[in-house]
């Protein structure tokens, strides 16, 4: 009987792989509709200020996605992600000034070069975890900030650094020819972000995802299952750095001019805070985190309120998440809404008090 049951369930699994079940289908349709609305509706509805903001949201959703992989999937806390983003942006800017290669190729190269750097940062992770790894990655971020302040971002000069301090007319970092306007570049950034989300999805649903889940819960159990934990930890750093590097490339085109002060070390801490608030276990969490990180400050600026207040809000937010909602807002808000819906429907449907038996 037991065997019949288990085999039948496996048969169901196989069928469900070929043809998505109804809830899954509804989900796919909803997400597609949402993405189409973002791609085509946003540029029509939003002012140029908010389109630029949403481009930044797309860029940082990749960064928070990558950080989510490290923290949520593998359990490795990195406080150096802004530095990794800066490396990606630097490499992309240098290549964009130096070559006439198509933009996607530049993004790929920026991603791959950043990946090599990211794996080097990840090496301490083979020995360290938790606070010590966070500290090491934070020191690394600080070191990169110092190096960038000396090196400067490329501004069309020559040589390895591509920086010329005496340039009067600094040329902007180019964008792809098909996406030179702000709305078009917004769409471009969203599409790149979608591809990066798909890349992560392809990992989490397969062998690496299972290996990461095992490593996060218990490294001895992972080793006892024959998982090469060294390989998979470095793999996670490689994937996260690749995605962050690509995001850096998109950022370079978005802002046209890059300065080392745009990548302060402490931003890595804020980034971790919003990533935790958004939710590290789901991909929606990355989007929520990017909205918190980029959209909320833009909104406050537009209202004339200093975005510095957000530090307090994020502090409280992290406290709330760590104590009551470890899976973040992306998990908690839908649950709370469902609970509210049930409460309201019970209130309206329930018979008057006294009539119940």
């Amino acid at each position: 009987m037991g065997a019949d049951l288990s085999l039948r369930n496996t048969a169901d699994r196989q069928t469900s792989r070929r043809r998505p079940a109804r809830p899954q289908l509804i989900r796919i349709v909803t997400i597609t509709a949402l993405l189409l609305f973002v791609l085509f509706g946003f540029p029509q509805l939003l002012s140029l200020y908010y389109i630029d903001t949403m481009t930044q949201v797309a860029v940082y959703s990749m960064v928070t996605l990558a950080l989510g992989v490290l923290v949520g999937r593998v359990g490795l806390v990195s406080l150096g992600q802004i530095a990794v983003l800066a490396i990606g942006a630097w490499v992309a800017a240098r290549l964009l000034f130096a070559t006439t290669q198509p933009y996607p190729v530049i993004l790929l190269e920026a991603g791959l070069i950043t990946m090599v750097a990211g794996v080097l940062i990840g090496l301490p992770a083979l020995r360290l975890r938790g606070l010590y790894l966070a500290l090491i990655t934070l020191m690394f971020a600080g070191a990169i900030t110092v190096v960038l302040a000396t090196l400067n971002f490329p501004n069309g000069g020559h040589g390895f650094t591509g920086y010329n301090g005496s340039l009067v007319h600094i040329p902007p970092i180019r964008r792809p020819s098909i996406a030179s306007s702000d709305p078009a570049y917004f769409r471009y950034a969203v599409i790149v972000a979608i591809l990066m989300f798909a890349l992560v999805l392809a990992h989490t649903k397969t062998k690496p995802g299972r290996a990461w889940a095992a490593i996060r819960q218990s490294e001895p159990a992972a080793l006892a299952a024959g998982i090469n934990t060294t390989l998979y930890k470095l793999w996670a750093f490689a994937l996260a750095s690749f995605i962050t590097g690509v995001a850096g490339g998109v950022l370079a085109g978005a802002v046209h001019y890059l300065y080392s002060i745009g990548f302060p070390t402490q931003d890595s801490i804020t980034l971790l805070a919003v990533t935790l608030m958004g939710g590290v276990y789901s991909m929606w969490g990355a989007v929520v985190a990017a909205l918190l990180y980029q959209f909320l400050p833009a909104l406050l600026n537009n209202w004339g309120v200093s975005a510095d207040w957000l530090t307090i809000l994020f502090g409280l937010g992290v406290l709330q998440v760590l104590t009551t909602a470890p899976a973040g807002l992306a998990d908690q808000v839908p649950k709370d809404l469902a609970r509210l819906g049930r409460l309201l429907s019970r209130r309206f449907r329930s018979p008057e008090p006294g009539k119940t038996t």
């Binding site: 009987m1 037991g2 049951l5 288990s6 369930n9 819960q217 024959g226």
Partner: protein, 236 residues
């Protein structure tokens, strides 16, 4: 068959295993002793988590100590842990499948092996898609056992698999453990404090005390041994 010679493990000033010599031939063998005797350390050496200070371990003619820890699992050294370590967020199927993922067998054969292992442990009534976090403590133990027996393990190390289980589940587990050598052909080593479980499952048993082997042989004889009664079992 496993042959251990001169195995010594030290943690700082503490000697956990002291020049241990041991041979287990086949079937299910018991390894007992008081807390701190070195039983789990021995398992940790076999699975590669602890590097011994001296000694050799040969399993089926292969020098186990020269193999990287994750490769030992792929080669066939499987184990369960004192505190159960099934991966909570994955399904029963994925928990077992991840151990077998490294084999070169085709996907269909691997899937069949995984379902066989789940069925063998008596977890057949649980949907393979069920997440482990939804299972009872006893079922989780069985998921760990399924992880240990899937595919073609050579050496199955069970570290107090019945700890904390109610009697009924413990006796079901005994049935499963007894079946492992026949089902997989693997040499099974059982560490447990439950003497009825050890007597029920193991034909031969070895006893450790303060890192040294104090007795080994047929289980019934070992349990009557004066030195074993003095060091571990106590006088009733």
């Amino acid at each position: 068959m496993i042959e251990v010679t001169g195995l010594t493990v030290r943690y700082g000033g503490v000697t956990s295993l002291d020049n241990m010599n041991l041979t287990f031939e086949q079937g299910t063998c018991g390894l007992i002793g008081p807390n701190g005797a070195g039983k789990t350390t021995f398992f940790n050496v076999l699975s590669g988590f602890v590097r011994p200070a001296a000694g050799t371990v040969h399993a089926f003619g292969v020098d186990l100590l020269s193999m990287a820890h994750f490769r030992r699992a792929r080669w066939g050294v499987r184990r369960t842990f004192q505190t159960e370590q099934a991966i909570e967020e994955l399904s029963v199927f994925d928990n077992v499948a991840m151990v077998h993922e490294h084999s070169k067998l085709g996907a269909a054969t691997r899937r069949k092996d995984v379902l066989d292992a789940i069925e063998f442990t008596g977890l057949g009534a649980v949907a393979p898609d069920a997440k482990v976090r939804m299972l009872t403590a006893g079922q989780r133990r069985l998921v760990e056992v399924a992880r240990a027996v899937v595919g073609r393990p050579r050496l199955v190390l069970l570290d107090e698999p019945a700890a904390g289980l109610p009697d009924e589940e413990s006796s079901r587990l005994a049935d499963v453990i007894r079946g492992i050598p026949e089902h997989t052909g693997a040499l099974t080593i059982l560490v447990d404090h439950d003497m009825s479980l050890v007597s029920a499952c193991c034909a031969t048993t070895a006893v450790l005390d303060f890192g040294a082997l104090i007795a080994s042989g047929p289980t019934a004889a070992v349990l009557r041994d004066d030195a074993v009664i003095r060091a571990y079992l106590g006088v009733a």
